[in-house]
Symmetry: C2
Subunit: 123 residues, 2 copies
DNA sequence: CGGAATCCCTCGCGATACTG
DNA sequence: CAGTATCGCGAGGGATTCCG
């Protein structure tokens, strides 16, 4: 295996969770197992292609498990692996900081964080 | 001010520290004030343009301070703002997780994390 | 329903050169 | 030394279509 050089260890972390949507996906998964369609609904801005791609990479890095139920219609679920759960504190902190940041910038976080469904086609 | 919609609070965090190099820059700054040239040396892969750009955005978001010393030759330093220090726990956790991840993947972190200077033109 | 495969285009980013 | 300006490439990612 070719050893990759890092100048600082955080670079290794970013290779795993640094993708455009990866932290968002992982945060959702800290709330429990999710179906593909659920994830898509929770992230109105993501495309099918990107969702699949990011999920594959997270799976390759061992932080999530892909669970395929052999049935019709198909049903696929994703959940954090044991290794993935080692990121929980980080993910929680990232979310918590985001809330404080929203309050700082906008003054009232409740006016900003809204129902996902409402955003479906608002852009 | 136009209120931006977030579907989950971590998205707000990623707007601030989600840039390609931002976490790396911030991690270095948790070790103290740095000059521009120091940062460049600590991040052999970054270009002057990207460094300036990322620093400007971090400054706009209020997490770092830019300190200009009026002298010749020019001397500019960057340091975490008080607000930026509120990210310290997150940044430390990201670094710590990266170290564990390197060990997990490569078995021996000491073989991977090396002197920055050595990487200058290795790619 | 979940995902693979194509086409296609934007714009992120690097390379280079220049300024104070 | 720190930063700006300009050009241009190509990978990242969007839209669409097809498959099991």
């Amino acid at each position: 295996m070719q050893k990759k050089k890092y100048n600082i260890s955080v670079e290794a972390t970013l290779e795993v969770i640094g993708g455009k949507w990866k932290c968002v996906i992982l945060c959702h998964l800290t709330h429990g197992k999710k179906r593909t369609s659920e994830l898509k609904r929770l992230m109105p801005g993501i495309t099918q292609k990107m969702l699949t791609q990011q999920l594959r990479e997270l799976e390759e890095d061992g932080v999530i498990h892909r669970i395929v139920h052999n049935q019709v219609p198909p049903k696929v679920e994703y959940e954090l692996s044991e290794y993935g759960w080692s990121l929980q504190d980080i993910l929680d902190s990232l979310c918590a900081w985001g809330e404080k940041h929203i309050s700082r910038v906008y003054g009232d976080k409740f006016a900003v964080l809204e129902e996902n469904v409402l955003n479906d086609k608002l852009k």
